[in-house]
């Protein structure tokens, strides 16, 4: 850089100083913590843990139905409670909702034979049954996110009596839309080999997701951080996000193979040919009121993959809502701070009947 004089030289000096400062801030931010709302583990099965979020001080919980959040298997759920200003969980607690969250944990080699149906019936099903039993109610509201939304749709179809209202966030139904790059790439995979190779490390999934938009996701965001000369707090927010992005759990071989084959390669959910645990999953059996929120600029789950949901489910009370953001923007952007929580809360409030506020029986202690 020393051979550059004049304006360019001055710019390089300035940017060099910003780079050193940002790098120092990034290093200082290594110790940031993720997750801001108090919670406790209330039930577990295998690697799956059910967390109950504690009510916020001074915010009495209304008698509304409990809300269970089901996140994807491929990412960590703490993105929904990453930090106070963007936390969807926090907004739900502020609205007086009783919130539970399914954390799928870290499958190890002992879980390589774990199937999708195990996650659905023993994992999600176990969580649902525990919440119903301890809250003394017949039904709960279910919020499914991304792949967790797919599981939630399947669960609601198979156990309609347990789910009062269903909310899906960035949830695909059509896995073969023309703009779905991920789908194009995995359609030629040999799933026999995939099942035999064993659990797929989280790092490989990270790389796969990043490779959908490599320059934006691996270059541009860092340069923007440099130019912005971000303050320490902004750098900490950035590092929290980075931590989540690079923190994908490994995937149980059998479940991942089934997901790739049945959903991406054979598009069974939309075609109505999906069977789990020997039972047909018919989306027409999803008759609960359904709120479908999706992003218009989603590079992982294209909007077209979500938009079709209304045509395939049996819900008469169906609301679709396109949010002008990207996949990750659904969890952490400005929209995530206000518009998305407000829409979910208002939609659920409008559907919380008097019956929901009356416990069916004494809750199990």
């Amino acid at each position: 850089m020393s051979d550059l004089g004049g304006e360019a030289g001055a710019l390089f000096m300035e940017l060099g100083a910003r780079m050193a400062q940002t790098l120092a801030r990034l290093r200082e931010a290594r110790s940031v913590t993720v997750g801001c709302s108090a919670h406790r583990a209330v039930w577990s099965h295998g690697k799956t843990t059910l967390f109950e979020y504690l009510p916020l001080e001074g915010r009495a919980q209304k008698g509304a139905r409990p809300l269970l959040v089901c996140f994807a298997l491929v990412n960590r759920p703490y993105i929904l409670d990453l930090q106070a200003d963007t936390s969807l969980i926090r907004r739900l607690l502020e609205a007086g909702r009783k919130v539970y969250l399914v954390d799928w944990g870290n499958p190890d080699d002992g879980d390589r034979l774990q199937e999708l149906n195990d996650y659905l019936e023993q994992g999600l099903g176990g969580c649902v049954r525990h919440v119903l039993a301890t809250q003394g109610t017949d039904t709960l509201d279910l919020l499914g996110v991304c792949q967790g939304g797919v599981l939630s749709l399947c669960y609601s179809a198979l156990h309609p009596a347990q789910i009062a209202n269903l909310v899906t966030l960035t949830t695909p139904v059509d896995f073969q839309t023309p703009d779905d790059l991920l789908s194009k790439w995995v359609r030629g995979l040999d799933t026999e080999l995939l099942a035999r190779v064993g659990n797929v490390p989280g790092e490989l999934l990270n790389a796969l997701f990043l490779s959908l938009l490599p320059f934006r996701l691996m270059q541009q965001k860092y340069v923007r951080l440099l130019i912005a000369g971000a303050e320490q707090r902004a750098v900490e927010d950035f590092v929290r996000m980075e931590r989540w992005i690079f923190d994908s759990p490994p995937q149980a071989a059998a479940a991942l193979t089934q997901f790739v084959r049945w959903f991406y390669q054979e598009n069974r959910l939309m075609r109505g040919t999906l069977e789990l645990g020997g039972r047909a999953v018919d989306l027409k059996s999803v008759r609960q009121p359904l709120l479908n929120l999706y992003a218009t600029a989603d590079h992982i789950v294209p909007p077209a993959a979500c938009e079709v949901m209304g045509r395939h489910v049996g819900s008469r009370d169906y609301t679709a809502c396109a949010i002008d953001t990207g996949h990750i923007g659904m969890y952490v952007s400005r929209k995530a701070r206000t518009e998305i929580p407000q829409r979910i809360i208002a939609w659920l409030e409008a559907r919380s009947g008097a019956a929901a506020r009356r416990p069916r029986r004494r809750p199990r202690k």
């Binding site: 850089m1 550059l4 304006e7 360019a8 710019l11 390089f12 300035e14 940017l15 780079m19 790098l23 990034l26 290093r27 290594r30 406790r40 583990a41 039930w43 577990s44 099965h45 295998g46 002992g110 390589r112 034979l113 023993q122 176990g126 525990h130 790059l181 194009k184 790439w185 359609r187 030629g188 995979l189 040999d190 080999l193 995939l194 035999r196 190779v197 797929v200 490390p201 790092e203 490989l204 990270n206 790389a207 796969l208 990043l210 490779s211 938009l213 490599p214 320059f215 934006r216 996701l217 691996m218 270059q219 541009q220 340069v223 923007r224 440099l226 130019i227 980075e242 931590r243 690079f246």
Partner: protein
């Protein structure tokens, strides 16, 4: 918590420093262009060539830009790849213990993987060239301006846009998707061939093999399933068993565990 660049905590630092260095490189190339009169467009040809070269290099070394599939099977994308192979590529050096057919198969797969990598490399070259062409096309209509932090960022944003467009055009094509799938399938087949060799050795030494542990896992799964089905059946107890059975506070058979229940179990054990 390993990320594609190392641990998640150091990932941001490393990735930031790498991206900043590439950004500086871009600016340096930009600033080194022959001076043009104010208000006139500079000659971008040299810049385009330099950008394409840098870009192709990055694509080849970036684990996220496609090499991840092969890296999963231990095949290095390049000497500089951060996704270091966790095991040596090709046949496992078992010496006389190696089975000829398996060793042959592993070599064939390794050669195929090399060919596929070369094909992928050609795609990276194509993307880099295409991105540079797009960039030059856009810049031709841009007039020379002062190089400030803001104009540098604007220049960079244009470059990223061109790069993403060129990348999307190629990676969305059927031939590219097929190549990605072939790469992954071959990498997985190589990994399984290596395992098969290791299994033969383990068997010869009387060590447990993957086949055996898989069989054990299946048995455990079956036992778990049977255990889960148990509460549904009403057990027929003999009078002696009934007398032995605790009347209250006994743990329910089932797989899910309430956290409180788990602690209670521990207390009763201590008693």
């Amino acid at each position: 918590m390993q990320g594609p660049f190392g641990t998640a905590w150091t990932a941001s630092d490393t990735a930031f420093a790498g991206a900043a260095a590439r950004f500086f490189e871009l600016l340096k190339t930009f600033a080194a262009q022959p001076h043009t009169a104010p208000g006139r467009s500079p000659d971008w040809t040299q810049l385009g060539a330099a950008l394409a070269g840098q870009f192709e290099q990055w694509l080849k070394s970036s684990p996220a830009a496609g090499a991840a599939f092969a890296a999963a099977a231990g095949f290095p994308a390049s000497a500089h790849s951060a996704a270091a192979p966790p095991w040596p590529p090709g046949p496992i050096p078992l010496g006389p213990a190696a089975r000829v057919a398996e060793e042959q198969s592993a070599w064939e797969l390794l050669m195929k993987l090399g060919q596929l990598q070369a094909q992928l490399s050609r795609h990276w070259g194509e993307i880099a060239g295409n991105a540079a062409q797009r960039f030059m096309g856009r810049m031709r209509t841009t007039q020379s301006t002062d190089l400030t932090a803001e104009s540098a960022l604007a220049l960079y944003e244009t470059w990223v846009e061109c790069a993403e467009e060129a990348y999307a055009e190629t990676v969305r094509r059927e031939d590219f998707s097929q190549l990605q799938a072939q790469l992954t399938n071959t990498a997985m087949a190589l990994l399984l061939a290596q395992r098969s060799q290791a299994e033969a050795l383990a068997r010869a030494w009387g060590l447990p093999t993957r086949e055996e542990t898989d069989a054990l896992q299946r048995q455990i799964r079956e036992l778990r399933q049977r255990l889960e089905e148990r509460p549904a059946q009403k057990p027929q107890r003999t009078p002696r068993a009934a007398a032995r059975a605790p009347r209250k506070g006994s743990a329910k058979a089932g797989t899910g565990r309430g956290v409180r229940g788990r602690r209670g179990g521990a207390r009763s054990k201590r008693r």
